[in-house]
Every structure is written in C-alpha cells, then in structure tokens.
C-alpha cells in the first residue's frame, strides 16, 4: 500500500491552521467591536 502520510499530515495541518486562523479573526473582530462600542458610547454619552 502506498505511503500516504503526506496527505494525512496535510489534512490535519490544514484543519489546525484553519481553526487557529479563524480564532485569531474572531479575537480581532471582538476587540474591534468592543472598541467601536466604547467609542460610540463616548461620542454619544450613551451608557451600558
């Protein structure tokens, strides 16, 4: 049977790279959203 370890490694590596990249994206999105909300509060005098 052929050695398919490269394909197996690639599949798991892509899974983790995708997951980590998306988690970084989520974190950045949250940070930007929080900053935007704080700025809006400050500018409008709104309160939480």
């Amino acid at each position: 049977m052929a050695d398919n370890s490269t394909y197996i490694f690639a599949a798991y590596a892509i899974t983790w790279l995708t997951l980590i990249a998306y988690l970084v994206h989520l974190r950045r999105t949250r940070r930007d959203a929080e900053r935007r909300y704080r700025d809006a509060q400050r500018a409008t005098g709104g309160s939480i």
């Binding site: 049977m1 394909y7 690639a10 599949a11 997951l19 989520l26 909300y37 809006a40 709104g46």
Partner: protein, 247 residues
Amino acid sequence: MAVGTMDLTTDVAASARGRTNWLGVAGILALAAAQLFVVVTSPPDRDMGHLQKIMYVHVPAAWNAFLAYFVVAIASLRYLWKGRQTDDLLAASAAEVGALLTGLTLALGMIWGRPTWGVWWTWDPRLTSTAVLFFIFIAYLLLRAFVDDPERRAQWSAVVGLLGALNVPIVYMSVRWWRTLHQIQSSPSTVDPAYAWGLRANAIAVLVMLIFCIRHRYESARLERGADDLVDRAALAAGRGREVTDG
C-alpha cells in the same frame, strides 16, 4: 427606527462580559485529545490503509457545517417571522462558521481524493452540491458586506440563508440519489465499529468548537450593532432637538 430594532445596547454589556473563552479552550483540548486518540488507536483500513484517518477531520467538519446551516435556517425563519435583529445576527454568525467548515470539508475531501481517486477534483454530485452550498454562503456573506441598510440586509440574507440551507438535504442525500464516485455517508452506523468511537469523539469536539465560534461571533456582532444603534439614536435625538429649536 428600523422595524425590529430592539434594545440591543442594554444586552450588549452582558454579552461583552459573558466571555465564552472557557468553551473555546475546552473545544481545542477536546479536539486535540480526540485526534490523538484516533491517530494512536485507529487501525488501518483494508483498502485505504492509514489514509482512512482523514475521515476523522473531513466528516466532522461536514456534519458541523450542516448543523451551522440548520441554525441559519431557524434564525432566518425567526427573523422573517418576528423581525428581531438578534435572529439576523445569529444567522449571520452561523453562516460565517458554516462557510468556513464547508470550505474546510472541500479542502480535506480534495486531499483525500487525490491518492484515492487519482484526482484532486471531479464533478461528482456530492462534490458539486457541496461546492454549490459553499458558494451560496459565500454569496450570503458578500451580500451582507455590500448592503448598507440593516433592515434590507437582514431580509435579503434571511431569504438567501433559507434557500442555502434547503440545499443541505440535497448534499446529504446526493450520494444515495445519484450514486457515483463518492462513497455513501460515513456515520457510526455505516463505518466499521473500530472507527465509530473515534468519529463520534471528533464530531463532538468540532461541535464544541462550532458552538464557541458561533457564540463568539454573535457577541461581537451584537456589540457592532449596539454601537450603530447608539450612533443612530444620538443622531435622531439631535435631529429632534433641532426641530424643537427651529419650531
């Protein structure tokens, strides 16, 4: 104020505080443990050998993409029925994660297809219908990015989200309706018992990550919408103030 605009700002504080990071950590640990379990314990398949191990990442990604689209369908229906912004934001969050998982499913399928079928891609009904599903939700996300009016954006995306989710049963049944190259659905009932627990464990770990990602994205979306609402309300109040002064 737009129809269905609710008092997001009061909810936003709670959502900002209600961090779900612990769920993400649990999901990552569960996924790492489940993958380690199958890499160490899963025996080679008679025909595919160790290549079979790709199933543990490919199939859970596909199942959880379907679950994400189920959330899109329910939230979109609820939006069209009740007009609540929170349902629109939930649908959008689930669609983003669903599209990501569908893209991953396609990529992993291609990696599996090359050594198994000898090609990276073929116009098999399962592959084609999955690609169609993927592009519908890419279109959904583009639609949301390009339509500025929140109410119109929510209505249009609810319709597209529902149509996209209707494609899920077609994707799922495609391997039975048009039997071609792709094998029938892999599930604990169709795979060898030696693979069933590994498949379950990986699917549950990805499910935890799915819940975490949708929830995290949804909380951010509510903060963004809350900021927009604050600005809109301030602008409205300033307009009224001018009217009173002018009057």
